[in-house]
């Protein structure tokens, strides 16, 4: 599909095909490509008239069959007729300039296009549908209501509309919680976008690579029976329960020896430091006790007694798993999925928020925390600054809104 947006869209489309009737917008029309592309080369054209189009401008969409030659020629002819190739995101930017999308929704379009997993896709969808804008709108609304109360107390002192500082304080505390919720949602979203890092650790030949391959459903690491086969840290991205997961297979710990081994062990330590989930393998074919490992705070761990078919028993909390018999794998996968899910939250949970939003929200939060509700004129400034931080996300004028709010709730004489 070739998309044209701008006041000249119809004219330029007309230079490329014949039979287009721009006075019948929003209807698919059969047209014939002209010049050296015709005769007989047909396409479907849909004209749009401003402001009812994706960008808010006049638009034409030409649906062609995918022949690279035809598409290329059509693009050339459009440019020759005066069109300009769109810069990245330009259609969306015009949509924002024309008020069809707000900034948050524009970001959602970007995220939608880049979504690799179901989680990201659904998050972006929800943001595009305006869910985030509405959430922020609610937060903003509450702040404006509090601000209005404070302002009314100041501007209408004669009428005795003194605001109760406790009410203001409770309101701000509530808003603070809302913001916290959105921010934690944001952290989870970033986690989901970067991928949950699941690191497999354990002694050499504990079965990490087998597990790695099994979780990926394709062999990647070299699997052999001698310890020290995986000489490197391997990463592979997969999807667990719809969430992007990065699996990391580390070298065996505790293997002395050559340069390569030492390097591998160092990298394993580094990988562990960045892990969100550590899967610790304790093979049943050795006499050694369970491995003791230091994990980063907040990290989750899954304890796996690998090669369980070789020996009975194990330890409290260790899941018995065997690659040969298949014992415990289903349970392992289920537990892994649930841990990943727990970290990332559900798509239908609180709305998730991106990095830029999180920064603005955290600024707003900091402003609110500093508000002195005992001094209304200073409290009003603090709330205004918090609102300004939110305003950056969506972009609105402040002062008239406050006034509107005041007069919805206060009865003021001259």
């Amino acid at each position: 599909m070739v998309r044209l947006s701008g006041s000249e869209a119809a004219r330029i489309a007309g230079a490329v095909c014949s039979g287009l009737d721009p006075d019948r917008p929003w209807r698919a029309q059969l047209v014939e490509l002209s010049g050296d592309l015709g005769p007989g080369e047909r396409a479907v054209a849909i004209p749009y008239r401003a402001p009812r189009s994706a960008t808010g401008e006049d638009m034409v969409e030409l649906v062609l069959h995918g022949s690279p030659f035809v598409v290329g020629r059509v693009l050339e002819r459009c440019v020759a007729a005066g069109a300009r190739p769109a810069a990245p995101g330009e259609f969306t930017r015009r949509a924002v300039a024309n008020g069809k999308l707000d900034l948050l929704q524009a970001e959602a379009v970007r995220d939608l296009v880049a979504a690799e997993t179901r989680f990201e896709y659904q998050s972006a969808q929800r943001q595009l549908s305006g869910e985030l804008s509405r959430e922020l709108g609610r937060v903003r609304g509450e702040l404006i209501a509090t601000l209005a109360q404070l302002e009314a107390g100041l501007d209408f002192a004669a009428q005795g509309a003194d605001p109760d500082p406790d009410i203001a304080m409770r309101c701000l505390a509530r808003v603070g919680q809302e913001i916290d919720r959105l921010v934690s949602g944001g952290e989870r979203r970033e986690l989901a976008r970067g991928g949950v890092r699941v690191v497999l650790v354990g002694a050499p030949n504990a079965g990490k690579s087998t597990l790695f391959n099994r979780l990926l459903c394709r062999p990647r690491a070299i699997v052999a029976d001698a310890p020290g086969t995986t000489r490197d840290v391997l990463e592979a991205t997969t999807e667990i329960d719809g969430v992007k997961t990065v699996l990391v297979d580390t070298a065996g710990l505790g293997v002395g020896g050559g340069e390569v081994e030492r390097e591998g062990v160092a990298r394993a330590g580094a990988a562990l430091a960045e892990a969100h989930v550590a899967v610790v393998l304790w093979p049943a074919d050795t006499a050694q006790g369970p491995p003791q490992l230091a994990l980063p705070p907040g990290g989750r761990r899954l304890l796996v007694r690998s090669k369980a078919d070789l020996a009975p028993g194990g330890g409290e909390g260790w899941l018995r798993v065997s690659a040969r018999t298949g014992e415990g794998f289903a349970e392992l996968e289920a537990r892994l999925a649930s841990v990943v899910r727990e970290l990332v939250g559900h798509e239908d949970g609180p709305v998730a928020v991106g990095a830029r939003h999180r920064r603005a929200l955290e600024r707003a939060r900091a402003e609110l925390a500093a508000v002195d509700t005992g001094t209304p004129e200073l409290a009003a400034e603090g709330v205004r600054w918090a609102l300004a931080a939110l305003e950056e996300l969506v972009g609105e004028v402040l002062t008239e809104d406050v006034l509107d709010e005041v007069f919805a709730t206060f009865c003021i004489g001259k």
């Binding site: 900034l103 004669a158 004129e377 200073l378 009865c411 004489g413």
Partner: protein, 618 residues
């Protein structure tokens, strides 16, 4: 007849304009429908309040006369928000209406260069698009190089009391007919606004034993630098309506011109009529009313809070349902007045009509409401007309320099659909614009313009220096927690210190009472009591003030970011057709100007700003 400046209307705006222009050397002719009604207060006989008081302070700092007149006509002085910081203090004076009017008339008649004539202005005359004269109802013409229109609520005014409607500008004064048409013919778009006023009751018909007394401040504070001291001369009272009022009004809503569709004009939200209030806030059980004498010797009592245009019999029932007012006699019934205003956006920041060179507009005719807003605008219009005649650039006060700046900027740029009244929440830099700093911000300009004598400025300057010195001392003086020092701190501020700090550090603690500290601190003992409070506040607010100053600087940089002459809006991708048209039509020269054009969205401003900053990098 010929003059440099003709001022149409002698209300609050007209008087300020005429007096300022005359003091700046212009020959001024003021045309009024009634000599007796110069400087009349048709509604609340009071000047000031929160927001409005800020305007009075600034008008006074520039050399205007409203503050001076209010001081002399004042019957009761009260500063609202006294317990809060100076940024939100609202000085207010209840005035003797007749005395106020006499004072302004005396000024007009006494100033060299002003002639007052009683006549109706029925039209403007222009030559080649420029205003050259006004035409009077009796056929005379007055030629002028500048015309300032300050007609208040008179343009095609219609008064409503219940079903009665008649032409009129106010109470018993006729409306002005032809001028509205003439303005329209000259290309000005007019709009219909409305405002209202409460009934006036006879002083002797009220039962004061059932009303609550309201006193003025213990230390009444004058508005003007010209005034040494003022005193309270009378009491006011307050009353509360009962629930029954709601029923009375609801039963009679169909007879209210507001709700029957008889009145078309849009009224202010902040000054709603009693019927408005009842309809919009049905859950409010009672409304507070203030009963204020209109004059020291007169019999008329103004009922603040009861603006209405309900029929007379309903007004009587409403008033008499209030405890204490059961036997009230009406001297005047409340009424609403519908009038023409010049739609927002047609005036420049200097208050000239964009479409009509030589014409200035000020006051309620620009869609504002209130004597203070009118006086401020009138003063600026008068100053700017005089400056224009000298060929000099106009005085434009910025939003970060004063409430006058906020007022003008809002009147010029914002699409208000109702009468505009000043509120502190309109000022984004409120903490920097308190009345304590009005003179520091604006008096120097008053001196430059010749409206404020140097001597007075000098006296004020000494005061500001003393405040600043005291403030710095508080910031710098180290306090070590010796027994002596701890005692001193305890005596002055009622708190304990345990670590080394400064007086400023102590004052910024939330457990310190600023008023007590102001009274107790030695470093401040040489200052007048108000200044002590100001210094304490400035110390306490220091962090916030600094932050606001930074914002002001940032906004100014953005606003002043220059757009080059050769800029082609179409070269920027992502601008909508509406924005492109606005940019091409107005050719703004700075980002701030562009942002203020109607139709330019925040997203468009961001695109422009981005482009400008990238260009600077190149």
């Amino acid at each position: 007849m010929r003059a440099d400046v003709v001022v149409v209307g002698a209300g609050h705006a007209g008087c300020e304009a005429a007096i300022a222009a005359a003091r700046m050397g212009a020959r001024v002719i003021v045309v009024t429908l009634s000599r007796a009604r110069v400087g009349h207060m048709p509604c609340n006989p009071a000047v000031g309040g929160v927001g409005k008081g800020h305007l009075v302070a600034e008008t006074d700092a520039l050399g205007g006369v409203q503050g001076w007149a209010a001081d002399r006509a004042g019957l009761q002085f009260k500063t609202l928000n006294r317990s809060r910081g100076p940024a939100v203090w609202g000085p207010r004076a209840q005035c003797d209406k007749n005395r106020y009017s006499q004072l302004l008339r005396g000024l007009l008649l006494g100033i060299h260069g002003v002639e007052l004539i009683e006549a109706e202005v029925v039209g403007l005359e222009s030559d080649d698009g420029r205003v050259v004269a006004v035409r009077l109802g009796d056929g005379r013409r007055v030629e002028a190089r500048a015309v300032i229109v300050t007609t208040g609520t008179f343009l095609d005014g219609v008064l409503h009391t219940g079903p009665e409607r008649r032409a009129g500008g106010r109470e018993d004064e006729p409306a002005s007919r032809g001028l509205g048409n003439s303005l329209a013919e000259h290309g000005l778009e007019l709009r219909r606004f409305k405002t209202g006023t409460p009934p006036r009751l006879h002083r002797d018909s009220l039962d004061y034993s059932r009303l609550t007394e309201e006193q003025g401040d213990d230390e009444p504070r004058p508005f003007s630098w010209r005034t040494r001291a003022v005193r309270n001369r009378c009491l006011c009272w307050s009353a509360r309506t009962l629930e029954v009022v709601q029923r009375i009004i609801e039963d009679n809503l169909h007879r209210s011109p507001l709700f029957s569709g008889q009145i078309v004009g849009i009224g202010p939200r902040y000054c709603p009529s009693i019927e408005d209030k009842v309809v919009r806030f049905p859950h409010h059980r009672e409304h507070t009313l203030f009963i204020e004498p209109e004059g020291l010797d007169g019999e008329s009592m103004y009922v603040n809070g009861l603006a209405t245009s309900l029929p007379r019999d309903v007004q009587e029932r409403v008033v008499r349902s209030v405890p204490g007012l059961e036997r009230a006699e009406f001297l005047r019934y409340g009424y609403a007045v519908e009038y023409d205003v010049v739609a927002p956006g047609q005036v420049s920041a200097a208050l000239t009509a964009r479409a009509v060179p030589g014409l200035w507009l000020a006051g309620q005719v620009l869609g504002t409401s209130g004597y203070e807003e009118a006086a401020g605008l009138g003063l600026l219009a008068g100053i700017n007309a005089a400056l224009a005649l000298r060929g000099e650039a106009p005085l434009v006060v910025g939003r970060d320099e004063g409430y006058l700046g906020v007022l003008v900027d809002d009147v010029v740029h914002v699409e208000h659909r109702e009468p505009y009244r000043m509120l502190t929440s309109r000022a984004e830099h409120r903490l920097l614009l308190g009345i304590d700093s009005a003179r520091e911000r604006l008096m120097a300009r008053g001196v430059e313009l010749g409206l404020v004598p140097k001597r007075a400025f000098h006296v004020e300057h000494l005061r500001w220096d003393a405040r600043e010195r005291a403030r710095q001392e508080l910031e710098r003086t180290r306090l070590n927690p010796s027994t002596e020092t701890r005692d001193a701190v305890r005596r002055a501020c009622r708190v304990e210190i345990t670590a080394p700090t400064t007086w400023a550090g102590v004052l910024r603690r939330t457990d310190v009472d600023p008023a007590l500290a102001a009274a107790g601190l030695e470093a401040l003992s040489d200052l007048p009591s108000e200044d002590r409070l100001v210094v304490v506040s400035r110390v306490r607010y220091a962090g916030y003030l600094e932050r606001q100053r930074k914002e002001v600087a940032r906004v100014r940089r953005l606003r002043e970011a220059a757009i080059p002459e050769a800029f082609e809006p179409r070269a920027l991708p992502g601008l909508s057709r509406e924005v492109l048209e606005a940019l091409e039509r107005h050719r703004p020269r700075s980002l701030g100007e562009a942002a203020r054009l109607p139709g330019v969205t925040p997203a468009a401003v961001a695109i422009l700003a981005g482009w400008l900053s990238r260009r600077r990098e190149v």
